[in-house]
Symmetry: C2
Subunit: 346 residues, 2 copies
């Protein structure tokens, strides 16, 4: 069957021998995991990490000629212990050269008592949802309570998830969308405006847009910072989401150095986040970080302490979020019972 249609007979006979692992596509994950559930799962994972209940997550990277592969793995105990390993391929020229997404991959979720594979799922939706959930958790604790305006910088694959998650934690009334490619920001404004019924404006004057925003999210592929310290007015919450490898940067090191800085994991941000560049620039060190997000969620460190302080969240993306989101998807799939399964050990 060279056309990729499933061999129904062989598939059924294999799968019926045991329950098998769930197979979940991108649309399955999007259907099964609501932003609210993902935010709650990610918040809990950060809390558990801060309380010392989670072993250190692991990362492994292998460069390839036109991109690279990254594996993030972690354990997390919920109603039972889970393990997840996410293999993501990151090939920046994919869209232009092959008509494929930049990031592709799968998450393997296992029972961490027996090791049994429980699910194999697309990584794209997991990555978008768990990254947006971290921003929402950070905004919940670090943005001013009364936020009306938000600016999304970078209207690519991550932007919609970021905005949907932000709406779950703050009553935003006006959104600005910025992208170097005006076609993208206009498309995003139209689509998400229709979906959320909140006015979204595509903007081109970045300094004015930043100055007019209570919340600023950067989710671009930039390799050089574009949000300057001078642009950001007192009281703003800035989430730097795009920098997830050592070559990427979105935020002025001077902005980080002069703000209250919260990371997802300080060690990882020192290696690959915006913090990395601020450290390299010599304007701050890891000891200048106010807290890791989990410490604030768990009440071990203070969140926002005044209406005036600028707080920056450096989000590098952690395996903690992946295992939390993947376990939430799995539990939904199990409750629903309608997704296909495959017995690898058959």
């Amino acid at each position: 069957m060279s056309d990729g249609i499933v061999s129904i007979s062989s598939f059924t006979s294999v799968a019926s021998r045991s329950a098998g692992a769930f197979l979940l596509s991108r649309s399955d994950v999007e259907r099964l995991l609501t932003p609210d559930e993902c935010i709650a799962a990610v918040e809990d994972a950060f809390r558990q990490h801060a309380l010392g209940k989670v072993p250190p997550p692991g990362i492994l990277g292998l460069p390839a000629e036109d991109g690279g592969f990254h594996i993030k793995a972690a354990l997390l105990t919920l109603e039972r212990p889970y393990f997840a390993a996410k293999t993501n391929a990151n090939f920046p020229h994919n869209s232009a050269r092959h008509g494929l997404p930049t990031i592709q991959g799968v998450v393997v979720l296992c029972d961490a008592v027996t090791g049994q594979p429980l699910a194999v799922m697309d990584s794209m939706a997991i990555t978008a949802l768990r990254t947006a959930a971290a921003t929402a958790v950070a905004a919940k604790y670090l943005a001013r309570r009364e936020c009306r305006t938000a600016l999304i910088c970078g209207c690519g694959a991550q932007a919609a998830a970021q905005l949907r998650a932000l709406f779950r934690v703050r009553g935003l009334e006006r959104i600005q969308a910025y992208d170097r490619d005006a076609e993208k920001s206009h498309g995003f404004a139209a689509a998400l405006g229709a979906e959320t019924r909140v006015p979204i404006t595509a903007v081109t004057d970045l300094p004015a847009a930043v100055a007019a925003s209570d919340v600023v999210v950067t989710c671009t592929t930039a390799r050089r910072w574009f949000i300057a310290r001078e642009m950001v007015r007192p009281g703003t919450f800035v989430a730097g989401v795009g920098a997830d490898n050592e070559d990427k940067q979105e935020l002025d090191p001077a902005l980080l150095a002069s703000s209250k800085l919260v990371t997802d994991l300080t060690e990882q941000c020192t290696a690959i986040g915006d913090l990395h560049h601020a450290v390299v620039a010599g304007v701050m060190s890891a000891s200048d970080v106010h807290a890791q997000l989990g410490e604030i969620v768990a009440g071990l460190k203070r969140g926002r302490e005044s209406e005036e302080e600028i707080i920056v969240f450096d989000s590098s993306g952690t395996a903690l979020q992946d295992v939390a989101a993947a376990a939430a998807v799995y539990r939904r799939a199990l409750a629903e019972g309608g997704s296909p399964r495959f017995s690898f050990n058959a």
Copy 2:
């Protein structure tokens, strides 16, 4: 569908949108990958590694309460570049406590030009076949040409694959099978004797069995060496296959120190192979290793140089072998076209 029967309708509708990744169970892998093909694939991977054509493979380990998870990942260029990440769960009490195999997991195979997932397959058969293939490649270059007798120590999941692979490279006429559990060695002797039509004897006198063997393979879960230097007669080829983490050991450090020692990857064997224990015991260092297997395959270092020398192969198991075997399975599945597929990105 709580009984795990595939939801035919949803599965078909998803899969028919694109070719998708092959889903391959243990029996699929065993059917698609012959020992000869696996040996050739693994031999080529070691050769490429020695010639500097393969980037360094990566490993990542995360301990769990009753076991642990290990990820091995590597790239390998064949007719096109491939990447594979193998996630293996190793839970030693699984059989007694849960009626499950000790090792379970999946291999994710990707195109290394675009990152696209090509296949998700059970790891058990891949691990058995590629481990046995490394032993066969090593025996091909390091055992005496005229080998008639072999001893398999440890009659668990790995033993049959080891024996089948050995038969492809040496004309063995008599096999001895040893296990602390006599029921296992007798069962193995009966089953593999019937399959191979070569006489297989279950033995209990280990020193006598080692002394009577041209080839000795250890594939046990031992944590303390049991093949002593004194047992091994001149000219023997010994393959230590079981030690794949720092707690496992099968071969007397004095045997390693007094033999010509070949590793799969010296750095890895120094960390987790039998070599690790010999180094810890202070009887040798990594610089005493004669060669990595690939260097011998590529003709960069000499293999067997006399009928008398004892040669030991320390096999810790590498991601090179996994990607070579997984790519071979994938190419067969593609040529055959009958295996089920699933589009994760749908």
